[in-house]
């Protein structure tokens, strides 16, 4: 197909098509922003009581690289359980989550995967649990399929 298609036209399609679909992507992004408030559990974030706790919880989540073993809403590492729904899995109990994190043995469990002992303070534990509770309130279109994540 020697001259059936030309470089100029291929170039025009590249520039035009890219611009076109990027604009479409921006339009959908704009619409998504309109929908986020009804799905992203904003009430918890904006509550003067919980908001700062969640923020601290997310900071701890990040500064201990929890995502390096766990998934959160399915994204992260696949070494340890999904935590987006851990609040539900642990019977909607913040105390259970805090207890679990707190009780990890320092030297691990022989022969098995185990979570490190992070020596969090009670305030930090509470913040982390509050963060995980907040995430469990996000509307994820019924994912994961069941409580096991």
């Amino acid at each position: 197909m020697a001259q059936a298609f030309t470089k100029t036209m291929a170039r025009n399609i590249f520039y035009g098509g890219t611009l076109f679909f990027f604009l479409l992507f921006l339009a959908l992004t704009f619409d998504s922003h309109g929908q986020f408030p009804s799905r992203d559990n904003r009430a918890a974030l904006e509550s003067p009581d919980l908001g700062p706790k969640i923020a601290l919880g997310k900071k701890l989540w990040e500064e201990n690289d929890c995502i390096g073993c766990h998934t959160l809403l399915g994204e992260g590492a696949y070494f340890a359980p999904e935590l987006g729904n851990v609040y539900k899995r642990f019977g909607e109990s913040k105390e259970a989550i805090m207890g679990f994190i707190k009780s990890r043995p320092k030297d691990g469990v022989p022969g098995r995967r185990s979570m490190p002992q992070f020596n969090f303070t009670d305030e930090e534990l509470d913040a982390l649990a509050e963060f995980l509770k907040y995430v469990s309130g996000i509307n994820t279109s019924h994912w994961p399929p069941n409580v096991n994540g």
Binding site: F5, K7, A10, R11, I13, F14, G17, T18, F21, F25, L28, D31, S32, Q35, F36, R39, D40, N41, L45, G51, I54, A55, K58, K59, E63, N64, D65, C66, I67, G68, C69, L72, L73, G74, E75, G76, A77, Y78, F79, A80, P81, E82, K106, D107, G108, V109, P110, G111, R112, R113, S114, P116, I138, N139, W143, P144, P145, N146, N148, G149
Partner: protein, 464 residues
């Protein structure tokens, strides 16, 4: 090699290969931790090994891309690099920053590293693939800007070819979308939404421009096919890539709190994403069949064709396997994702990096066009060992993933995560063994740089 300043690429390529070794070693550690959970615990928890594994990959690919740019841009532009000294300086800054960051990961606890680097001032750490301390991220931006300046000026003062333009667009896009890594709101949905603007728009967007440009360059050089033909294919392929890939971002927006229409938009467009990869395969084989000369560097040709095939398999086929929302509902965040990730990254980006290294390294080492026959044969052994290993790693992880989805997410009595992990341990063992074969392949590959150095280049019959 036509221009003296191209030589700076050698530094980048060598560093890239060093980091490649690190990546594989830490991959093996992780693989072992999957089946022997207490291995190196608590000195090196899994997340630390994983950070080194993934970050080393990203940095070495960036190094290889930069090296590729420093090599091919002057040759395409037919002029010396604008500022060779800046390229060397930036290399050392980048390499030392990467080294310091890895040392930080290994020697400090991650939270201490966060404190030390004052993450509080601009918290960006602790998100997958973007674990680097904020200061490292800023360093990457500086290096990227200096690099773009250098490359941009070179292109401006020289011949403007399509390959150079596409490469420059890809690299600019890479730098621009990286800026979204500095946006880190508390709102997890927003955080994730824009996190993908870095990750997806990199690997399924602008990086493919870089891939296309490098592949086109190597094909022009090794096949002698008319530039005009190769360039129009390049345009049409990258056009299809972005047409499908930009809205294809939607396949990450199914279950993270984003509106449900993304399930449709994402499924439909990402289902089209294999098309450009398929076109790339057709293109590469077509060009090689139409070649006007037989280049003495057979190994580079093998890598180029390998890239085209493996990128289609890894990114195209394995991506398609789980991209449709109803399937992804069961496979999201499972070992299927890991399987796809391994073959796609190897097939597309690792292989294109090794393609340009294979093509350019002989010249950078002072040879005319190719390594000796012995060295090339050794290199091809490395190619096959690594490529076949990655295929099996992918198959084993796919097996693990299918079982995981089945046991953990389907059926009447779904099984908890850790129980499932025990049940599929066999696949992890097989994966780890294959990983060792991959390492052997890598060693064989690296050894090819040291054999037959004083032997002559293979002679080739001139094709008509």
């Amino acid at each position: 090699m036509k221009y003296k300043s191209q030589k700076v690429a050698r530094l980048y390529f060598i560093a890239a290969l060093v980091l490649f070794v690190a990546q594989i070693l830490f991959g093996l550690i992780m693989g072992l931790q999957y089946v022997m959970g207490d291995f190196l615990f608590p000195y090196m928890p899994f997340n630390v090994a994983r950070m080194v594994h993934t970050n080393a990959l990203i940095v070495w690919l960036l190094m290889a891309f930069m090296g590729a740019a420093y090599y091919l841009v002057p040759e395409e532009a037919e002029t010396e690099l604008a500022m060779p000294w800046l390229a060397t300086l930036m290399f050392w800054i980048f390499f030392l920053a990467a080294g310091a960051t890895v040392a930080g990961y290994l020697l400090l606890s991650y939270s201490d590293l966060a404190k030390l680097t004052m993450n509080d001032m601009l918290p960006t750490m602790g998100r997958e693939f973007l674990e680097q301390p904020t200061i490292t991220k800023l360093g990457i931006v500086v290096v990227a800007l200096a690099f773009l300046l250098n490359i941009g000026l070179t292109i401006l003062k020289g011949r403007k070819t399509v390959i150079n333009l596409v490469l420059l667009m890809g690299l600019t896009g890479l730098a621009v979308f990286f800026l979204f890594s500095f946006y880190n709101p508390t709102n997890v949905v927003l955080d994730k939404y824009y996190w993908w603007w870095v990750v997806h728009l990199w690997v399924e967007g602008v990086w493919e421009l870089i891939l296309g440009a490098i592949l086109a360059f190597v094909l022009i050089k090794t096949t002698g096919v008319d530039r005009e033909v190769i360039e129009k294919w390049l345009y049409i392929i990258i056009a299809m890539t972005l047409i499908t890939g930009i809205i294809g971002t939607g396949h990450h927006y199914y279950w993270i709190g984003t509106p449900e229409y993304w399930q449709w938009w994402g499924s439909i467009f990402s289902a089209m994403e294999p098309i450009p990869f398929f076109m790339m395969t057709v293109f590469a084989f077509n060009m090689v069949n139409k070649r006007r000369r037989n280049h003495p560097n057979k190994a580079a040709m093998l890598w180029a064709l390998g890239t085209a095939v493996m990128a289609f398999l890894g990114a195209g086929v394995w991506g398609f396997l789980h991209t449709l929302a109803p399937v992804n509902y069961y496979t999201h965040g499972s070992q299927i994702t890991a399987a796809h990730g391994h073959m796609a990254f190897y097939g597309a980006y690792v292989m294109i990096s090794l393609t340009i290294i294979s093509y350019a390294m002989p010249m950078l080492m002072g040879r005319t066009a190719a390594n000796s026959n012995r060295s090339q044969v050794r290199e091809m052994w490395g190619f096959w060992l690594m490529t076949i290993s990655i295929v099996f790693i992918t198959l084993f992880l796919t097996g693990a993933g299918v079982l995981q989805a089945f046991l953990q997410r389907m059926g009447e009595n779904p099984t908890p995560f850790m129980v499932v992990q025990d049940k599929i341990a066999l696949f992890y063992w097989l994966r780890e063994i294959t990983g060792v074969v991959f390492l052997i392949g890598l060693i064989v590959y690296l050894s090819s740089f040291f054999v037959g150095r004083n032997e002559p280049e293979p002679e080739v019959a001139v094709a008509e």
